[in-house]
Symmetry: C2
Subunit: 207 residues, 2 copies
């Protein structure tokens, strides 16, 4: 039986299937859609993938993805460089920046400690974080906010980091865990409720 | 506030968001994943998108996507050219070919009649189908199997086609509609059950 799809289409489907969460059926749907696009639009998508690796580097200070070095956040003189928010991925930095509430700088770990996946502290940008807080670096660091995810691996990484930072004598904090704003209590899972109770704050703080 | 993502990344996210079913969050996840790929893999994806429009044409006989004209199915001397299966999209042809049960040839409509979307019969490859069955074309057509989807628009298109074909004196049939194989009856929807009852076959056929 001859293959029903032409080789150029099969090739694109195979390449799209390599993306996370894209199975063969979705890849087929996307490839057929791209084929229906005007040629210019497909060319624009291809070009934007092509230039990505050439344009984007890691910021040598916070290790986020950036076209400039240092990145726009690290280069901004209005940011408070004495407070470092430690996140797992550049995407977390974006989520934080979109809120506009944090005026310090970041440090991107590029992952979490996960022995099952063979990822130990040495695979992450942890030594680079220790270099940033080293007194010899002349960076005056007041606080490190550990903002890894509230997953098992994120919590383990946070615990590991807080112990390291304690030894270094730097003030470390962990972002709060509790009921998301707007969530009905009855839909919260057991672990979240337990954490919300444990981390309760005095009502006098609300006044 | 400076944009947290570099322009090259924002551009790829915007382009990926144009794909069906891909929102901004998914596009961001995919773009960050492509950035973590080896450069060669990203280049391969970009190249496969780039060559797509240059390589792929419509078969001048059945109008499926193909790199050759006629397409491999139409060019195959072992296929029965007297039976034409009419499908909506090249993807439907692929699904049919994967089963290997149909040995005739195809005709791809490239859509269904949908007045709400401004798609009438003249936007589809219906005149081309009529040209194929025209006695003057010397194609000896025994049967047209209408295999459009069992959606409202698919059924309307099938009804329109069967009336056209009746006027032309060509034998037309419609693929069967009923309970999918392996499906528990109690999970079938009302319309499917109704169609399955209406299209029941005599048990003597099962012997």
């Amino acid at each position: 039986m001859p293959s029903a799809f032409p080789p150029a289409l099969e090739r694109l489907i195979k390449n799209l299937s390599r993306l996370p969460g894209i199975g063969e059926k979705t890849a087929t749907r996307l490839a057929l859609h791209i084929l229906r696009w005007p040629k210019e639009l497909a060319g624009e998508l291809a070009d934007s993938i092509n230039v990505l690796h050439d344009r984007i580097r890691l910021c040598s200070s916070c290790f986020t993805f950036s076209e400039q070095n240092p990145c726009p956040v690290c280069a901004d003189p209005k940011r408070d460089t004495s407070t470092i928010c430690v996140v797992e991925e550049p995407g977390d930095l974006l989520a934080m920046e979109k809120t506009g509430v944090f005026r310090g700088v970041y440090h991107v770990l590029h992952g979490v400690i996960s022995p099952m996946d063979g990822i130990g502290p040495e695979q992450l940008k942890i030594n680079e974080l220790l270099a940033r807080i080293d007194p010899a670096s002349k960076n005056e660091i007041k606080e490190i906010i550990i903002a890894t995810s509230s997953t098992a691996a994120g919590e383990a990484t946070a615990a590991y980091l807080s112990e390291l930072l304690r030894q270094s004598g730097v003030t470390a904090s962990r972002i709060a865990c509790g009921i998301p704003v707007g969530m009905d209590l009855k839909y919260a899972d057991r672990m979240t409720l337990q954490r919300a109770i444990e981390a309760r704050t005095s009502c006098s703080n609300l006044e």
